[in-house]
Amino acid sequence: MAAAPAPRGCGATSFQRKAAAGSRLAAVAGTRPSVRHGQLLLSSGLPSLDCVLGGGIAVGTLLLIEEDTYGLYSNLLFKYFLAEGVVCGHDLFVASAKEHPDNILKELPAPLLGDTYRNELREETTAVKSEEFQDAMKIAWRYQNLPKIETSPTTSTKFGHYYDVSKRMSPELFQSVKQHRFYLPEELSSQPEMKTWNMNSAYARLLQSIQRIIYQEGFDGSDPQKKQKTILRIGIQSLGSMMWGDDICSSDTPEDVHSLTKFLYVLRGLLRKSLSACIITVPAHLIQNKAIMERVTNLSDTVVGLESFIGSERETNPLYKDYHGLVHVHQIPRLNSLICDVSDTKDLAFRLKRKLFTIERLHLPPDLSDTVSRTSKQDLAEAAKLLSSGCGAMAIGKKHLDF
């Protein structure tokens, strides 16, 4: 339930259940309470991703995105998260070591409000639908009236918004939203030396900056004067990469193996005790030492991995011609409950249409060739391997059943 400041002040965590549901919860814009665990949920900016994650991102949790090879699509998700914050009126905190946060904020996608989204969707699907109406089923006519299976998971539209990737968000929308920035080269030059707690100094500075913002703006409920409650959306780009001064991506035996995990632990503490949510993109494909990624996964709440087809042999594979990559949901948190909302669809793929980015259930086209050639058989086997791998919250099976 909502994280209203408890009478004890700093002792409140964002996971406290409130006695009176309903009226006080709706006071925070852009959120809705979860049916499962009573936490407030935020939209990630992508309604299909919200569906897969069990309704949205819970306030006080961390969404970790494992970047795809060139970071294109993970950057897109990162911008969607921030854009959703602007549209909902949440405060933003953008941290980056490579690209200046101002440039990131300038490139947020424009929201599709009202009817424009429905028009977009209709354009995409009219081409397909007109053919379907023509052939009524002749053989399987009993199935004619069954409802069509939704390829893309959908939710009630009030909660999430859709964005047009080809257009930029207009600056007027930013006016009411407070944006905090952390650009590492600037921070390193301006701030004097501060205590680093045996951790990478860039991470230590970032933690101090986040803690300062949370405390000063009253997100942790320490200031009872603040009436207008809003959420702080924190976005950290490419954490763990060399630009942050960490060598886990460049060397097999890094100097300091513990900095990233310590950072995530302290960040978890900060998130849990404040009205905030965080998205972090990590170049997991560059990290040589897989033990670090295992620990990072254990210390994060939601972990989603993106695998794009760029540069791999799947790009030209006819099986995947509709999609641009795969989505792996590695972990979904169990909050305030013994169970979590796991989506039934484990095989997810994403595609970037002209203007929209969606996450859909992976559909392999039927194999209609007369002779099954070797290449397609190998792909089917790989696809079967995909189908047997599941979400880490419940179980992961590595062996695929070979019929």
Partner: protein, 303 residues
Amino acid sequence: RALRTNRVKEEATSQTVSKAGEGIKALAAPTQSRDFGWLPDSLRPDPGSQLCERGKFTLLRDTRTDGSFLVHHFLSFYLRAGCKVCFVALLQSFSHYNIVAQKLGVSLAAAKERGQLVFLEGLRSCLDLLFGEEEEQPAQPSPLQFISGSASDLRALFDFVRTSLTPSDSDSWKGPVLLVDDLSVLLGLGAAPVAVLDFIHYCRVTVCSRLQGNIVVLVHSNEDSEDEENELVVNALCHHSDLILWAEGLATGFCKDVHGQIKIIKRLSLELTGEQDQVQIYQYKIQDKNVTFFARGLSAAVL
């Protein structure tokens, strides 16, 4: 002791003979009790009875799945039994455990009030250590001192455990219990594997031998894990544990009706009577307020 081992052997044989029958019987009469439905006796002894095991080290282990439901079970179980519990909760906040415990019928806040529960909220303690003001030097050093690098071992954490579980004169609780969720986090925070094993060793000497209490610890492990430090700690703990509860995800992948399988390993070989370890395997399904256990292949969805 001979009586106990005979009884255990009887249980094992009767179960192998009529496993199918028992499974069906259990499912025919679904129990709605909060105490995890049909649970094998090894997990549900009454701490007040003479057959209760004291001074034991239980290891909770999970692979490919989340074994935290076992932590919630043991927490509510020991609190209901009237033991004094020291809970080192490193991974989640207090309200998370409180809400789940309320579903299982125990109030953590009330237990804290009456002094039955000593709760170390790792996340909050870490924040106090790193962002706390310099002037407020507490009398006791922070239990998680090793994070900021001022100490390289877990002595402060052990001192915290010792002071919370040492009984004072006014205490009337049945026996101290140390619960740790989860030990693998300490490795990520910079503690060396040897330091973690030392900490556990000191806790065992104090809690299990001297105070005749129990210890329950959760660790993560993976089959083909590359985290060698973690595997080292897990293997060492496995050798020293009296009871291992190993929650594994199904090898064939995700299933809606069977969330995993649990292996219960009773380390009878530690008692040096020439017996082998007793292994029992069940499958389980986690629901909102309890967990149902059943014999392998006999889930409600299949029958």
